[in-house]
Symmetry: C2
Subunit: 552 residues, 2 copies
């Protein structure tokens, strides 16, 4: 019998940034690392979110020993509410991550009997033939971990999402000495975060942001409104600390922000001195220079508290002259226009606005090139596989690994679905499993297929023209002149003549069929052909043309 092999299969996160998910298997044991979602890009019309394809997991469900989550961001936990509906396996994470998962499961009303198990950084678990140790890393959310995975073939280090902040807000830097120790003992494979492999140098510390935030709050003449990701608990801590220092009170606004803050306070990841946090009903009559709001809306989301405030559409708070707004976040790609519009509106209302392009009020949570090299140097892996990135990020990270001395043949650049088989001597790609994007549209969680998406793309470009052709049920003969309705194609009033002409064209084209039963395939093709040509000549547009037969 062949000796079992170690297989590593990325199911997400290597073809696009987001929806991170990876499988490791040895003989009968499978562990899953992360279960994230991705937000749609502009071409995914009407799609609300994108999940990894679960097929491989569902086909091998009886072998899965557990899901390990590295931290609480959507691109690492967001697919859990959907996955746990179909798969009942325990989920392992640190305490804050577990808190965030619980909030999420509750919001989605996902009833699940899944056990959420809490692991402390530094401790470990055994799942089948895998022993997994969690080590703390810095990232833009507290309680993030990387993984040390002891397998029958060798030791694997998985960086999680990380950066090397020597002065983190929560005082817990990435555990470099543990990694150095491992490097000395021998690491077979390093899997490391490539998200910012394009950026030279080092990522600045959170401390820099804290200092800038403090200066803004100290100097603001009136109210200060800070918006950030609700998961960025350390940033919220910085605002609370600075507000306390300058005798201001802090109001938490927006549901997801309130939910997270409440949970983080309960679990001890946020600390507020007595009397600093305030309820919105205490707002009335409070002097403006005693107020800080912490709110959602850092991505310009139209229904967020900040955007409502900027549009004078919020129940309690409107932006006014003298207010200072800090957007302590970077737009996620695709959200730039929304954020720009929000900044413009805030300026129009007379606020002073600080945002990433004009002030360093945000740093991201991923390692830049020098940090990536340091991790490679400390762990000294035999094999290296870049994870978390699009192809160019993975390629650039691979070049970095080469530059610090990893042999080219030992650098493994995979794409989602690839099966990597690893022995102590060699790693090679031996096959592919089903992977890709599963589109979710609507809160129900129903998927949508590529045909629907293709149709939406076509509809969005030049609209639709429907041709309704009435046919006698008994004789199969055409009745009267066809009707034409359009949406999103041309201004119907202005183009009245053209539409009339096109009705006549269709009628004429079908005329010789008038006295014999209509062959629908023929009619449909003919109508599309005639109208495609005519409309393109007239407008240079190519609407979707949809002939429909009514039998009466």
């Amino acid at each position: 019998m062949a000796k079992p092999r170690l297989k590593i299969i990325p199911l997400g996160g290597l073809s696009e940034i987001g929806k991170n998910m990876m499988v490791m298997e040895y003989a009968d044991d499978i562990i899953v690392i992360d279960a994230g979602l991705m937000f749609p890009d502009e071409e995914m019309l009407g799609v609300d979110l994108v999940l990894p394809d679960f097929s491989y997991l569902l086909e091998n469900r009886e072998r899965i020993r557990g899901i390990i989550i590295t931290h609480g961001h959507e691109d690492h936990v967001g697919a859990l509410p959907y996955l746990l509906l179909q798969l009942n396996v325990p989920v392992y994470s640190t305490k804050l991550t577990q808190g965030l998962i619980s909030v999420k499961l509750k919001q989605r009303r996902a009833r699940s009997e899944t056990k959420l198990k809490v692991i402390s950084p530094g401790s470990g678990i055994t799942l089948g033939r895998f022993k997994i140790e969690f080590f703390p890393v810095c990232h833009s959310i507290p309680d993030s971990v990387g993984l040390i995975i002891y397998t029958p073939v060798g030791t694997i280090v998985h960086s999680g999402d990380f950066k090397l902040d020597y002065t983190p807000v929560d005082g817990k830097p990435t555990n470099l000495s543990r990694l150095a120790q491992l490097g000395a003992q021998g690491v077979l494979l390093l899997l490391s975060d490539s998200t910012y492999a394009e950026l030279p140098g080092y990522t600045p510390s959170e401390r820099v942001v804290g200092e800038n935030l403090d200066r803004v709050i100290a100097e603001a003449p009136g109210r200060v409104i800070v918006t950030t990701f609700s998961s960025l608990v350390s940033r919220i801590q910085q605002v609370i600390d600075s507000a306390a220092k300058h005798q201001r009170r802090v109001f938490i606004v927006g549901r997801s922000m309130s939910d997270t803050v409440r949970m983080a306070l309960e679990l001890g990841y946020l600390n507020a001195p007595d009397g600093v946090l305030a309820r919105l009903d205490e707002l009335k009559g409070m002097p403006h220079n005693k107020i800080v709001f912490v709110t959602t809306g850092s991505q310009g989301e139209p229904t967020s508290a900040l955007v409502r405030m900027a549009n004078r559409d919020h129940r309690q708070v409107h932006i006014a002259r003298g207010d200072t707004v800090v957007i302590s976040a970077t737009p996620i790609p695709g959200n730039e226009a929304l954020v720009n519009r929000t900044v413009d509106n805030l300026f129009k209302q007379g606020a002073q606005v600080f945002y990433d392009r004009v002030a360093q009020v945000h740093v991201h949570g991923h390692a830049s090139q020098e940090e990536l090299k340091l991790l490679l140097n400390l762990t000294k892996p035999k094999f290296f596989m870049p994870i978390h990135g699009e192809y160019r990020h993975l390629t650039l990270h691979a070049k970095l690994a080469e530059s610090v001395g990893i042999p080219k043949d030992n650098i493994l650049v995979l794409e989602d679905g690839d099966i990597l088989e690893l022995s102590p001597q060699a790693g090679k790609i031996t096959g592919k499993v089903t992977s890709g994007n599963v589109y979710v549209d609507g809160l129900s969680g129903g998927g949508i297929g590529s045909v629907v998406l293709r149709d939406r793309r076509m509809l969005s470009r030049d609209g639709i023209v429907m041709v309704i052709i009435a046919v006698n049920k008994q004789t199969g003969k055409l009745i009267g002149r066809p009707d034409i309705v359009s949406r999103g194609f041309v201004d119907i009033r202005e183009a009245k003549d053209m539409i009339e002409k096109s009705r006549n064209l269709v009628a004429r084209a079908l005329d010789h069929g008038r006295n014999r039963p209509a062959d629908w395939g023929f009619i449909s093709t003919k109508v599309k052909e005639v109208l495609n040509r005519f409309y393109y000549e007239q407008t240079k547009r190519r609407p979707m043309i949809l002939p429909f037969m009514v039998k009466v």
Copy 2:
């Protein structure tokens, strides 16, 4: 009789970046500065380009003395082919700008009797009561100018698009001493470029890019493919110079690139040593380390030469291992995803890729904050009006002006359409003219209205459901069960049952009307109501619902 007043009316460029156009008028004389277009953002579905609203110009056509163009970029000249179809007035520009306008008019086959008049930087013209002097400025295209406009009310300086490059490629820096001289004589109003008012410091010189490009070309083991904007003639010059230095030949690929290069060579804005430029038919057998391509595709345009090369879809050239690609441009907002995909594909083909995030192979053409302050300091204007920018850019530029001592009341932040009336003592906004976006879809140049756009947006989100209801022409009674067709809503095969159910629902809802003539308004509302509710319950989606009555 009231004394005539000087009016300044921005028709574009102040509510969004792009489609720059401004009117200045005094008594019976109007001059127009720039006539640009804007490329659509993601929400403008199926729109090809956006023009300023010409209404005000057309209403006042007999008073227009001329159009002055500051430089040859699309956002300053792109609307000309459309405007000149409706308005016959002379167009004044420098020589290269005129060459680019001619190429554009020819490409669009816009027949026009308009006279294109060439003005040299440093010289001037008189248009009615306006005397206009052109002064050279640095920008990312040669032969750019700013304007000094002598009006009966005072002197106005219009910066055009500019930066202060002390070592420009064409050796023609911005004429600062002329501006200083004017400042000493007294400037009433400065209009200055705000595009990069967010950025602190100075914009780097083109020279930096030249050095980096030269290093890449010197060290490349095989072919080098450089892509940039075809209008960036100075960048193309840098590539030609460096290729000549390293004994490589230069192939120009792509139609718009070839057109521009030919014109720029003819007019003397590009210089190529003998034997450096080559034709594609000379390519065969040439060693790879003797080849440089200059090509279109810097925005990841799907039909561009570079993208075809990356997808093995170009007739003559495919990307291969050993090739070096330089993307010497920044993605225009909205094009990021296309450019990223192109970089990914180039890496997958084995090329080494240099692009803006990993190497300084591009600098933009606009002044940063210190340069803007310098211009304010030199010209010492009484009034200041920021131009070319969205509201936040204008606001930040206004703050810069305040910081160098312009009184707050003399800083005029306008939006498109505002009428600014200016006297030697005061400036105020006294009204508004028609302005805004005119959407052009299709090569024909036909406009599309906001209803069409709204429909496309709705269609793109959740698709469309058509309900076809047959009615007896004579009796007005319903015939049979309604038909339902959908596109872009749900997978039609999977959702067959739901669609059937919804047909029954509609039939039932209309049942009580079956024996009396149908009131269409009632039926239509009822159908929408019933289906909206049902589909939302079933799918959480809200497709456009379009009931249609066929009378037979």
